[in-house]
C-alpha cells in the first residue's frame, strides 16, 4: 500500500478554512446557547405554570432528538412548514443552538438549584429584586459550579459540529470528505481530520480545566 500524505499539504488552505469554520460554529453556537440555556432555566424555575411547561417541553423535545435529525429537519422541513429559507450555515446554527440550549438549560437549572436558598434570601433581605438576586448572586455562583459540565458540552459540541456537514456547511468534516472524494485518499484524509479534531479539542479541554482552577469559587 502506498500513502500520499502530500495530499494534506496540498489542500492545507481548504483544511484550515474548514477548521476555522468548525471553531466559528462552536463559538457562535455557545455564545447563543448560554444565554438561551439561562433563559430556559429561568423559565423552567418560574412559578408561572405555562412558562415553566413551555420550557420543559422545549428542553425535552430537543434533548431527546438526534442532533442530525434536527439538522435535517431544520434544512428540509423549516422552509416548507414555516416558509423560512436560511442559508445552510444559518440553518446549521439554528439546529445547533436549539440542541445545545436544551442541554445548557438543564445544566443551568441544576446549577441554580444547587445554590442554597439562603443566598437568595440574603440578597432579597438587602432589598434586591428577584432579578438582581438571580443575576448578581445566584447565577454567578451557579455558573462557576457548572463550568466543568459546560466544558464537556463545549467539547461535545465542537465534535458534533461535524454533523452539519450533511447539509453541506464547509466545516472541517465536510471539507475533508470533499477532498477525500476528489483525491480518493481515504485513509490520509480521515487521519488528517482525526488529528486536527484531536489537536484542537485537547487544548480546549485543558483550557477549561485551567479556567476552573483559576476562577472556581472555594466554598
Amino acid at each position: 500500500m502506498n500513502f500520499d500524505w502530500n495530499v494534506i499539504w496540498t489542500h492545507r488552505q481548504a483544511l484550515l478554512e474548514g477548521a476555522a469554520m468548525t471553531i466559528g460554529l462552536t463559538v457562535v453556537t455557545m455564545l447563543l446557547a448560554v444565554p438561551g440555556g439561562i433563559l430556559l432555566a429561568l423559565m423552567r424555575l418560574s412559578s408561572n405554570k405555562a412558562i415553566s411547561s413551555a420550557s420543559l417541553a422545549f428542553v425535552e423535545f430537543f434533548r431527546n432528538l438526534p442532533l442530525i435529525l434536527v439538522i435535517y429537519w431544520a434544512f428540509y422541513v423549516m422552509p416548507i412548514a414555516f416558509d423560512v429559507q436560511f442559508s445552510a450555515l444559518t440553518t446549521a446554527l439554528v439546529a445547533l443552538v436549539l440542541n445545545i440550549s436544551a442541554y445548557n438549560a438543564e445544566t443551568f437549572r441544576a446549577g441554580i438549584n444547587s445554590i442554597r436558598k439562603g443566598q437568595m434570601e440574603a440578597a432579597l433581605a438587602m432589598g434586591m429584586s428577584r432579578r438582581q438576586a438571580m443575576f448578581k448572586v445566584v447565577i454567578p455562583q451557579a455558573a462557576r459550579r457548572i463550568l466543568p459540565v459546560l466544558a464537556s458540552t463545549w467539547i461535545s459540541l465542537f465534535k458534533d459540529t461535524s454533523l452539519v456537514s450533511v447539509i453541506a456547511v464547509s466545516e472541517l468534516a465536510y471539507t475533508s470528505m470533499q477532498i477525500r472524494a476528489q483525491t480518493f485518499r481515504v485513509l490520509e484524509m480521515l487521519t488528517a481530520m482525526a488529528a486536527m479534531y484531536w489537536l484542537m479539542g485537547y487544548p480546549q479541554a485543558k483550557l477549561v480545566d485551567w479556567i476552573h482552577k483559576k476562577y472556581g469559587v472555594k466554598e
Binding site: E121, A125, G127, M128, K218, E219
Partner: protein, 273 residues
C-alpha cells in the same frame, strides 16, 4: 415637691407596671408592632396570634425551644414569609404586599443569618459594598469607602480583600453584620447569629452586637445565648409552640420567671439564675 415623696411616687409607678425601670423607648411610638400575627406551614401553626411591640433603641431577645416560632417571626418582619393572619406595622404603617414596596421596607431592616450567607464569589469588601451599589445605586468608590469603614468597625478592615472561604466563622458573621449595616437600617434582625459558630468565635460576634446595642440600634435577636440575652437585652420574649409564653425585662425572665414553662425551659438549658 419634697424630693423624698417624688422618688417614692416614681418607685410606686415602677412597682405598678411590675418593672424596676420603665421599658426602653416606651416614650416613643413603637418601631414594630405585631398584631395577632398568624403563620401556617400547611397544617403546622408556626405563629399563633402573636402580639408584640418593639420600641426604638430596644434590644429584644427572642428565646425558646427550636421550632417555637422565633425565627418565623423574624422572617415575617422583613416579609421573607407572608402572614396568614394579623399584621405587622413598621413605624405605624402595615407591611406592604407589593414587591417594590416590600423592597423599600427590607432596605430599612438589616438581617443576619445563622449560616452567614455571605456571597462566596465576592470579597469581604464587595459583600459589604454590594447592597449600596445594587440597591441604592451608590457610586462604587463611595460604597467601597463606606464598606471599608464598616469592616473597620467590626474589626476586619485587614480582611477586606479576603474571600469568605478564607475567613473563620466568627469573621464571616462579622462581615455579614457589616453587610447588613451598609444599608443603614433602622432595625437589625439577627437569626441565631452565633448558633453555627465555634465556641471560641462566639464572643467576637456578640461583642460586635453589644457595641451596636450601645449605639442605640434597634435589634431583634433570636438567640440561644442566654448570658447575652441577660446582659444586653432590654426585653426578653419567651416563645413556645408559636406563642409568647412570657415577656419582660431580663431580670424578670431570668431571675423571677412568672410562668412555670419559662422556668422549665431555662432549667433545661442548665440556667439556674
Amino acid at each position: 415637691m419634697n424630693p423624698m415623696i417624688e422618688a417614692g411616687t416614681a418607685m410606686n409607678a415602677a412597682a405598678n407596671t411590675g418593672a424596676q425601670l420603665p421599658r426602653k423607648g416606651a416614650d416613643q411610638p413603637p418601631v414594630l408592632l405585631y398584631e395577632n400575627v398568624r403563620k401556617l406551614y400547611g397544617d403546622f401553626v408556626a405563629l399563633n396570634n402573636v402580639s408584640l411591640q418593639v420600641n426604638k433603641g430596644e434590644v429584644m431577645c427572642l428565646i425558646g425551644p427550636s421550632g417555637s416560632g422565633k425565627s418565623t417571626l423574624l422572617r415575617c418582619t422583613n416579609v421573607l414569609e407572608t402572614l396568614n393572619g394579623g399584621r405587622v406595622l413598621l413605624d405605624g404603617v402595615p407591611l406592604p404586599t407589593r414587591e417594590t414596596e416590600i423592597r423599600k421596607v427590607r432596605q430599612r431592616m438589616g438581617m443576619v443569618f445563622q449560616s452567614f450567607e455571605l456571597f462566596p464569589h465576592k470579597t469581604a469588601l464587595d459583600n459589604v459594598a454590594m447592597g449600596p451599589i445594587t440597591v441604592l445605586g451608590m457610586r462604587v468608590r463611595e460604597a467601597r469607602t463606606r464598606a471599608l469603614a464598616l469592616l473597620d468597625k467590626v474589626g476586619l478592615a485587614s480582611k477586606a480583600e479576603s474571600f469568605p472561604a478564607y475567613l473563620s466563622g466568627g469573621q464571616q458573621q462579622r462581615v455579614a453584620i457589616a453587610r447588613a449595616l451598609a444599608m443603614e437600617p433602622e432595625v437589625m434582625l439577627f437569626d441565631e447569629p452565633t448558633s453555627a459558630l465555634d465556641p471560641e468565635t462566639v464572643g467576637e460576634v456578640l461583642n460586635v452586637m453589644k457595641k451596636l446595642a450601645q449605639e442605640g440600634m434597634t435589634m431583634i435577636v433570636v438567640t440561644h445565648e442566654m448570658s447575652f440575652a441577660q446582659r444586653v437585652a432590654n426585653w426578653v420574649v419567651v416563645f413556645e409552640n408559636g406563642a409568647i409564653m412570657e415577656e419582660g425585662p431580663p431580670a424578670q425572665i431570668f431571675d423571677h420567671p412568672t410562668v412555670a414553662r419559662t422556668r422549665d425551659f431555662l432549667g433545661h438549658l442548665g440556667w439556674n439564675g
